[in-house]
């Protein structure tokens, strides 16, 4: 899957979860999105897993630093 496709789908997910449009880049972190706290993170992770049919390991969930790293994992897993 191409990165642009991944970002497109991710933006849809973010819009659903946060109920607002959010522009994503590789550097986007939880700091950049007002409502992105530990609780919405859970919703977000499970929505991403569901959409791309991937499963993050527990370690990945807790160490993922930004959207770029998330995209790396998705690209890797959905090959």
């Amino acid at each position: 899957m191409k990165d642009t496709e991944i970002y497109e789908k991710l933006e849809e997910i973010f819009e659903d979860v946060f109920d607002e449009k959010i522009k994503l880049t590789a550097d986007t972190t939880a700091e950049d999105v007002e409502d992105w706290d530990s609780l919405t993170h859970i919703t977000l992770i499970s929505a991403v897993e569901d959409e791309f049919s991937v499963k993050f390991s527990m370690k990945e969930v807790s160490t993922m630093k930004n959207v770029g790293e998330m995209v790396d994992i998705i690209r890797e897993r959905s090959k």
Partner: protein, 591 residues
Amino acid sequence: MSVLSYPFNPSEILRLKRKLKRELLADGSARIKKNIAILGGSTVNDVADVLELFLLKQGIEPTFYLSEYAQYWQDAMFGNESLNLFKPDIVYVHTTVRNLERFFPEIKDSKEDAEKRLDDAKDHFLSMWRKLEETFHRPVIQNNFELPAYRILGNRDTVDYRGRTNFVNRMNSFVSEYAAKHESFFVNDINYVSACFGLDKWHDVNSWCMYKYACALEAIPYLSFNLSNIVKSIFGKNKKALALDLDNTLWGGVVGDDGVEGLEIGSETPTGQAFLEFQQYIKKNKEIGVMLTVCSKNDYNNAIDGLNHPDCALKPEDFLVIKANWEPKGRNVARTAKELNIMSDSIVFVDDNPVERENVRRSLPSAAPDIGTVGDYIRVLDRSGFFEVTTLSEDDLKRNEMYKANALREQEMHSFEDYGEYLKSLDMTAEIAPFAPVYIQRIAQLTNKSNQFNVTTKRYTAEEIAAVSESGEYIDLYGRLCDRFGDNGVVSVVIGKKEGKRLCIGLWIMSCRVLKRDMEYAMLDVLVDSCKKQGIEKIEGLYYPTAKNGMVKNLFGDFGFKKISEDDAGNTVWELDTAGYVNKNRYIKVN
């Protein structure tokens, strides 16, 4: 909102919960507001978020208190300022098998050790339930326990005193026994919910280890929905009637085309067996007080012939209303509601045809679940919890009989030229008296169910009714009406607060099934009499308009009260001098 109807797509609900909430809040429907305290033994945030969606859909706007992580016991036993200030209308204890961990027996335990541990676990919960009741006097909903994630003793786990399965089963019996003895204590049966969801999926390691959710995230919609059904039932938001299609819903085939002998019903064929089991399920619903009606596109005679098929479990006399004609179903459901004197949003429309369901959904607020094919019918209706039973009053058990009696009265009425003569012929007797303990549940139920003949639409829980009855600050009356066709049960309730020489009426309700019987006058006569005996000189009546209570807009005017004021919202205040009051009831013999 179909995304919130059973069966669910859990990921979709979780992902869209904010948007769903926004849309529900913007849909303009009237909702009652309730404070719900959630005391959790694990993470509860999504449980509350999703519960909120289901409650909003069911006409309740909740505000939540959420305990800090796993502080359920501390909050219940020792309280804290924000919980006390919160004043919950309902307390929900979200504990699971995870919270039994520290009580579970060890393999090395003697039988006595293991029994001691079970007693400790029981005490832990029992002391909390007592404290909650003593502190809040509000309904408490408690999860029972799902089966454990593993069985170290294999199949012996359920038998052996050291087995966790054995321990959980015994705890669940304990929870049920307590609930059976306490009217305001309700069990959220997660043992059943987790079985339906699938125990292996329920015990999701990731959800627990990463987020401390006791069940899989995907299970939360099922858990919260099950819980929401208890809450809405307590607050009187249950559905009341089923409007059932016939062809391919209650039997296989089309009676008009296939003839009665061509229908698939009964144990002769697999399909016939499935339809028969569905009919038997519907018949059980009737026994708990659900009103059954037919809504079918058929010639009337064909419909009746079909229902008289010897293998049908349901017979024409099981139905209070039979609409079998060729008019749009939405119109027929609306008429059925009118004939039963209930709101159309109290009806569940059951039809195998998605086009008909859509027609009803478009024209009415009735529920029209997607019931799938005949093998799914029972499961979909049952899991949807439309008629969730939190109490089973004498009234529920007799409801269909009462409505049948009403139909007979109606017939009788048409044989009289003079309405007064008809009322006389009914030989009505009423029991009107201050609240008695045996009626508390029914009185609370009536305050939650009455929408039309209800001047203030104030709702009460059973505890609040008991408190009113015991405080001595109120004049409270219930009215039970009998006539020669049968007993209507408790049909009217009045509560007035004594303020010196005034009585302020906070509640005046009556069941619509006894409209135009003079029952309201009989209640007023007794009320005024009680007032006089207690030295009360003026009675104040209030009317708060809602979308549904237009019929009592001028109730106090009819009673002879004077209108004192009216504000922009249409709220009116009325007043009556008790001196010189002349009794108004002419047809009912009281007490």
